[in-house]
């Protein structure tokens, strides 16, 4: 397998996701820098916008050269490519303006020794416009070579909507992870607490997003089964690596969350734990790169080389072996039991913490109930692992059940919302007898309803 791009198309599909999806994460960090008024974080974001602006150059040239090559393919619509190109040029022009404005402000602020709010807001506005344009460009770009999205839904046993969601969603934990790691290393070098917390939060979010990414990937496998030109053996090779990525994301995400939780109570980070997160993240990024490459090989014949040897045996690999093993009752029932214990822990913890925030048990300070959260997080880890095994037992039936998609979405919403409990300064200072802020009450309601929805959605799978 070659990870270094050896064609314009390969370079384009690799580099173009950074100024598009990456921009969302850059904006997330930038907004956090405004919210915390952290000058070092603002400067780091300006550097990031500058880098993204520079990336407009390889994105443009690789796109233009790819068009020349893909024009010879009769299956590819010239009109669609032209529309993608026109919108692409507009978005890259605004991206370059964003990058130039960020770099000018960075250069100016070094001389003036302070950042100008007007310039910072200008960069923010330009970045938002770029993102809006990039959403259109991205959608048009994905449709160029993903002909399965145009298949008649009436002929599909598993909707192609899963494939559509997967080709968008899979870039969030991957590109987000690159940004999180870059920001994390900068935070460690600058010893900036806000940036360390911001990067740890992004590691956790990427880990959470790994769950719907894996699930939508499994559903896409069924949606693509039988589509001409798609090999089940190549999909399985991608699936095996995706499984390893899921584990890597879990290790990184849990280690990062534990450090955020401990920081709340101790008021400082442990260097040993921070470097453990770094080690997990670097290993996970390596596995993720190979996963992404194998995923690209499924439906992008233009990036394959003549020397590439693709897998041909659809029964080879760990994923088919796990599917076969978990269908034995001696393996299925223990992990299903673990799954039940897992959601008992999750819901019990979510209920206790959320009820305190909503106004129950006011004699306890919030910091006391915050101590319970690791119970729920261990429950999530147990259920991601056992859920992945249960899904493998009969993935076609689970993934085509009406309630499976909302259940998966609610897992992500419920888990991301829990992060608020470890991040809000106002909530942390709620003492015994005091009422939690209204924003925290809304988050508590979202947490409670999401996890209740996950359990209900899961239980309804066989019946709806």
């Amino acid at each position: 397998m070659h990870l270094i791009p050896q064609s314009w198309s390969h370079l384009h599909i690799l580099v173009s996701v950074f100024p598009s999806i990456g921009l969302i994460f850059a904006l997330g960090f930038y907004v956090t820098a405004f919210a915390t008024n952290n000058a070092a974080m603002k400067r780091s974001c300006l550097v990031l916008f500058g880098i993204l602006g520079i990336l407009a150059i390889p994105t443009y040239f690789s796109g233009e050269r790819s068009m020349a090559v893909l024009s010879q393919d009769p299956k590819i619509s010239q009109d669609l490519m032209n529309t993608h190109f026109d919108w692409g040029v507009a978005s890259l022009a605004v991206l370059v303006m964003t990058g130039v404005a960020a770099l000018i402000e960075l250069w100016r602020s070094r001389r003036a020794e302070r950042l100008s709010n007007d310039a910072l807001h200008l960069v923010l506005g330009l970045a938002i416009v770029t993102l809006a344009l990039m959403i259109v460009v991205g959608e048009l770009g994905w449709e160029i070579n993903h002909h399965e999205l145009q298949l008649d839904p009436a002929t599909q046993r598993t909707p192609q909507a899963w494939s559509h969601v997967h080709i968008i969603l899979n870039h969030f934990p991957t590109v987000g992870f690159v940004f999180a790691l870059g920001f994390y290393i900068a935070a460690l070098v600058m010893n900036n607490v806000v940036m360390k917390r911001g990067s740890l939060v992004l590691f956790v979010i990427c880990a959470i997003l790994g769950v719907p990414t894996y699930v939508t990937g499994a559903a896409s496998m069924w949606a693509l089964t039988g589509v001409p030109g798609i090999s089940k053996a190549v999909i399985n090779a991608h699936r095996d690596m995706a499984l390893l990525t899921l584990f890597g994301l879990a290790f990184t995400g849990v280690a990062a969350w534990i450090e955020l939780w401990r920081f709340r109570h101790l008021g400082r980070f442990s260097n040993r734990s921070l470097y453990l997160v770094l080690a997990f993240a670097i290993i996970t990024l390596g596995v993720m790169a190979e996963t992404g490459h194998r995923g690209g090989q499924i439906n992008h014949p233009e990036i394959r080389l003549a020397t590439d040897v693709l897998p041909t045996d659809p029964k080879a690999g760990w994923s088919p072996a796990i599917e076969s093993l978990i269908n034995h009752v001696i393996w299925f029932v223990p992990w299903q039991t673990v799954h039940f214990f897992g959601f008992s822990l999750i819901f019990g913890t979510a209920l206790a913490v959320s009820l305190r925030v909503l106004g129950f048990w006011k004699s306890m300070p919030f910091s006391a109930v915050h101590r319970l959260l690791p119970l729920g997080v261990f429950g999530v880890v147990m259920n991601v692992f056992s859920g992945m095994l249960i899904l493998s037992a009969d993935s076609f039936r689970y993934l085509n059940a009406t309630t499976f998609a909302p259940k998966t979405a609610l897992i992500a919403i419920g888990a991301i919302a829990v992060l608020y409990f470890s991040l809000s300064e106002r909530l942390w200072t709620v003492k015994a007898g005091e009422d939690a802020p209204m924003s925290a009450k809304w988050v508590a309601a979202v947490v409670l309803l999401s996890w209740a929805g996950v359990i209900i959605g899961g239980r309804l799978i066989p019946y709806v």
């Binding site: 534990i258 939780w261 401990r262 109570h265 101790l266 008021g267 269908n327 034995h328 009752v329 001696i330 393996w331 299925f332 029932v333 223990p334 992990w335 039991t337 673990v338 214990f341 822990l345 101590r371 690791p374 119970l375 261990f378 429950g379 880890v381 147990m382």
Partner: protein, 39 residues
């Protein structure tokens, strides 16, 4: 799938004990650090 036998029952008890044991040992040590150094 074949249904219920003694081996399955032992397997359930073993897997659940290992997983929950691991979780609770982890939580014990996490809380111990906070108890000793918390603010």
């Amino acid at each position: 799938m074949e249904y219920g036998n003694t081996a399955t029952m032992f397997m359930v008890i073993s897997v659940v004990s290992c997983v929950l044991g691991l979780a609770f040992v982890g939580i014990y040590y996490l809380n111990k650090t906070v108890d000793q150094n918390g603010r």
